[in-house]
């Protein structure tokens, strides 16, 4: 028999979560990388990635998820996304003369690596949005209920 777990919801919710969380995470990454071809973007993909972690956290409890992705790491990822965005913007200033200059060239349309710098901007925006929303969720929901 499977012993009754101490934290989280019951066994049905945990099994369904274990089967679906990876697919949700993969779908978020797919949305982010195909943002310039399909009708999506970095914002929706980042929110879906954050939702996959939140899904895991609601079903399994806080400790298991914070072992995989602690709030310090999540904050760091968000800051890295912001730094990537600004570095790309300023690189355009040095190569082309103005901010946000597209120095990659357009590439072949409808390919994954095309449309200049748009995939990189999408990745940076998804990092900021996903990590930021996950951090806000952890801080608002779990840290407030602690008795210190």
């Amino acid at each position: 028999m499977i012993e009754e777990p101490k934290t989280g919801m019951n066994i049905i919710v945990k099994t369904v979560t274990r089967l679906t969380t990876g697919l949700i995470l993969l779908f978020g990454i797919y949305i982010v990388f195909h943002g310039h071809i399909l009708s999506e973007g970095g914002f929706a993909g980042g929110v879906v990635i954050a939702l996959s972690f939140i899904h895991l956290m609601l079903a399994y409890g806080r400790e298991i998820v914070l072992k995989k992705m602690s709030e310090k790491v999540s904050e760091l990822l968000g800051n890295i996304g912001a730094v990537i965005f600004i570095i790309i913007a300023v690189l355009g200033l040095f190569t082309g003369g103005y901010l946000f200059f597209d120095f990659f060239g357009k590439g072949k349309p409808f390919n994954l690596f095309s449309a200049g710098l748009m995939p990189l901007y999408n990745i940076a925006i998804s990092l900021i949005v996903g990590a930021g929303l996950f951090t806000v969720f952890v801080t608002l929901v779990f840290f407030r209920s602690e008795k210190k």
Binding site: S39, A82, F100, K106, G107, I128, T135, V141
Partner: protein, 171 residues
């Protein structure tokens, strides 16, 4: 356009319920119903990417509201405070008067018909190399707006972390 009007009336009813109900959980669920109606409205107006963003953000906000606010809140909502009510009424009246004079100054609705968006649709694929015109506008023509939006989001996350911090807080 008749289905759109039904949805708008539904959203208005949900918003009024969310403001006026005494139960906090009912209010949160009414907010979720309002967001769902807005998402379907975007879908009917043929903006699928906005609809997806609205739906996903609505799910996340609903989870945060239910887990974060419903179970722990000691404010008694039945007691009405009259001074804030009067002050907000005065400000709303002032806002409405200003808007009335502002609207007369604006150009008529959709008067220069698609002057800028014609250029985007005609030259967007050639100039940016992506077939998705919405992303071409967001990440190429109007990248400064996206940059400002991301900055505002980042600042709001840092604000939440500052308000909810443990080190240095009084309690």
């Amino acid at each position: 356009m008749f289905d759109l009007q039904i949805l708008i009336v539904f959203m208005i009813i949900c918003s009024v319920v969310a403001v006026e109900t005494k139960d906090l959980l009912s209010a949160v669920i009414s907010i979720g119903a309002t967001g769902l109606g807005l998402s379907v409205c975007f879908l009917l107006l043929q903006a699928p990417d906005l609809a997806i963003v609205q739906l996903v953000v609505e799910i996340l906000v609903l989870v945060i509201l239910i887990r974060g606010t419903v179970n722990r809140d000691g404010i008694d909502y039945r007691r009405r405070l009259w001074l804030p009510l009067i002050v907000s009424g005065v400000f709303i009246a002032l806002f409405l008067v200003c808007v009335y004079y502002l609207i007369n100054e604006l150009p008529r609705f959709s008067y220069p018909i698609m002057k800028i968006s014609k250029t985007y649709i005609a030259d967007g694929f050639k100039q940016t190399g992506t077939a998705n015109t919405v992303v071409a506008i967001l990440l190429n023509y109007r990248l400064f707006d996206t940059f400002a939006g991301v900055t505002v989001f980042f600042a709001s996350v840092i604000g939440v972390l500052t308000v909810m911090r443990k080190i240095g807080s009084k309690k």
